[in-house]
């Protein structure tokens, strides 16, 4: 059961082979036994989970259950959960019990899923290794000396280690796709505006988007059917008709045009990553897909553009943490200004402070045009590159991350080295486009490699279809991490 996909668990619940209470107990026991080593969860609340499981079992027995009723799901600790600790991985919110639920939490509750716990993450989603969390780093189940990626590292590690069948995450510059790649799990960042951000703690508002983690593309589609949808409480939420994300799972691959951006296969790409991604692309060709070389000439500027725009927006978003209405307040201060300054000095970690400082600088008088405005112009050039690419291709494929999981502490000294990890995941959100990552093999050390599939706006179902077809022919996504055997 622990190794089953959400769709298999759903079938087992429907066939009454197992109850939600039994299933939830199984995953709680697994999560408890591994959390000391992996630190994937910040909060586990067995009583609450079991109470929700009992309600789900009742709903299943009375009828009116959906496919996900009774399935335990872990949520990134960036989503506000009413009456429950919501820390965003920060000391600033280490005592914050949210007075309301995020839209995503409401949707999962309405679908009857069981809240399994809140997962660890980089502080305020700023990081690519889950080492900036106030609650300590998350460890990669494939090698506990290595990072799981970030910022949704807890969700990725929990799904990889079979502590949860599925989880939620958020992606600003790669925070779903990169940890999915580094942990051998599947993760989807939807089109900007598809998943409501109400109650999802803001980092960079022109980029942030919530999405699911699971062990198969088929499961990602089921989770998207719950998560996606219009919400008037989020001004960026798109008013669109309800979509069935499972509708293209049997996608016809013959004559599917796959664009391969030459910039994604250039120097600096780890040789094993290149080999595994190329093998995956060859498989699609063997099914009749046509590959075309495309170019995203401005994508190389994606990382510098991102590190202007995201910190600028973060410096504005995080100004709300001032020790007045909620969260941490410094114990000693002389006046109001001193209270703000000490509260923020104590409440934020080094990486969050660094980004606030960068953002404050690029927005300040005399530098705004040279940095912020120029970054927004290059951002449009990157979006135009994608528009041209999607005239020649249906989907774009490449590596998710330039390397496999790196060692804890390896990149913490130099922020730029850490930032360059997201070189392949940053371009899509700059253009608001959807992207997903699925496992496509292992490097020589036995660490998972991720294949990234990007699509035009609202092409999630097609991307999931291509991923599902690949997963019907391969079993990379079924492999269990060596350090956390079942």
């Amino acid at each position: 059961m622990l190794n089953a996909t959400v769709s298999e668990l759903s079938a087992a619940l429907t066939a009454k082979k197992i109850s939600s209470v039994e299933l939830t107990k199984l995953f709680i026991a697994r999560a408890k036994s591994l959390n000391g080593r992996l630190n994937a969860f910040i909060t586990l609340d067995e009583g609450r989970s079991l109470a929700e499981a009992r309600v789900a079992d009742e709903r299943r027995s009375k009828g009116g259950a959906g496919p996900l009723t009774g399935i335990p799901v872990a949520h990134k600790d960036i989503y506000c959960t009413k009456g429950m600790l919501t820390t965003c991985g920060s000391r600033m919110l280490a005592n914050f019990v949210s007075p309301y639920d995020a839209h995503v939490i409401e949707r999962f509750a309405a679908a009857g899923t069981v809240l399994l716990g809140k997962t660890n993450m980089d502080e305020f989603a700023m990081g690519s290794s889950n080492e900036t969390s106030w609650f300590g780093p998350v460890r990669n189940p494939w090698d506990t000396g290595r990072v799981p990626g970030g910022s949704s590292g807890g969700s990725a590690a929990a799904v990889a280690a079979r502590m949860a069948p599925a989880a939620t995450g958020t992606d600003t510059g790669g925070s779903i796709r990169q940890p999915a790649a580094l942990t051998g799990t599947c993760g989807l960042k939807p089109t900007y505006g598809v998943v409501s951000r109400y109650g999802m703690i803001a980092f960079a508002s022109s980029l942030d988007q919530g999405g699911p983690f699971a062990r198969s593309a088929e499961d990602l589609a089921l989770l998207m059917n719950v998560m996606a949808g219009f919400d008037p409480r989020d001004s960026t939420s798109l008013e669109r008709n309800k979509e069935d994300y499972s509708r293209e799972l049997n996608l016809e691959l013959k004559n599917l045009r796959i664009g391969l951006p030459k910039e994604f296969f250039a120097e600096g790409l780890d040789a094993d990553v290149r080999a595994r991604v190329t093998e995956a692309v060859r498989w699609f060709e063997s099914q009749g897909a046509k590959t075309v070389e495309i170019t995203l000439p401005n994508a190389g500027l994606g990382v510098p553009v991102y590190y202007v725009i995201a910190p600028a927006e973060a410096s504005s978003n995080l100004s709300r943490f001032d020790g007045t209405r909620y969260g941490h307040r410094a114990k000693q201060y002389s006046d109001l200004l001193d209270m703000y300054r000490r509260t923020r000095a104590e409440g934020f970690g080094a990486e969050v402070k660094r980004r606030i400082l960068v953002g404050t600088y690029v927005l300040s008088h005399g530098y705004y045009d040279a940095y912020y405005l120029q970054a927004q112009k290059v951002r449009r050039l990157i979006a135009k590159d994608f528009a041209a690419a999607f005239e020649r291709s249906d989907l774009v494929m490449g590596p998710t991350s330039p390397s496999t999981a790196f060692a804890l502490g390896e990149k913490t000294e130099d922020p730029v080295q850490m930032y360059l990890n997201d070189i392949f995941t940053i371009p899509a959100p700059l253009a608001g486009l959807p992207g997903l990552s699925i496992p496509c093999g292992f490097d020589a050390r036995g660490l998972p490699v991720g294949l990234q599939i990007m699509g035009d706006y609202f092409s999630e179902a097609k991307m999931l279809g291509a991923a599902h077809r690949y997963q019907q022919a391969t079993d990379w996504h079924r492999r269990v991490p060596k350090e956390t055997p079942l």
């Binding site: 980029l207 401005n298 209405r325 120029q374 608001g432």
Partner: protein
């Protein structure tokens, strides 16, 4: 370009973050590495390109949605103030600003 310790202190003051003098040097050094990275965008010719503030701008209509100006939120003052660091009589308390 490179930030001097004075500039770093000024930015920190604007951001309302207290910097420990002992950490200033390290903060400046790492900030300058990040600035070295983002300076790469300067060399790109963007003449004739409009800034893009919304990621779907250019492909989809991105006008802000409006709603009727009606009260939609119930009063949740007690719930919200229950998690505040200091409140009294329904008000959030901060150090005295005006003598």
């Amino acid at each position: 370009m490179s930030l001097t310790p004075d500039q770093v202190r000024r930015i920190a003051a604007l951001a309302r973050i207290e910097l420990d003098p002992a950490e200033e040097q390290g903060v400046a050094e790492r900030l300058n590495r990040v600035l070295g990275l983002i300076d790469q965008i300067q060399k790109q010719d963007t003449s004739g390109t409009a800034p893009m503030a919304h990621p779907l701008d250019g492909r989809l209509p991105v006008a802000q949605r409006l709603r009727p100006d009606e009260v939609s939120e119930p009063d949740k003052r007690e719930e919200f103030q229950a998690i505040a660091p200091a409140v009294e009589g329904g008000l959030y308390l901060v150090p005295k600003v005006i003598e």
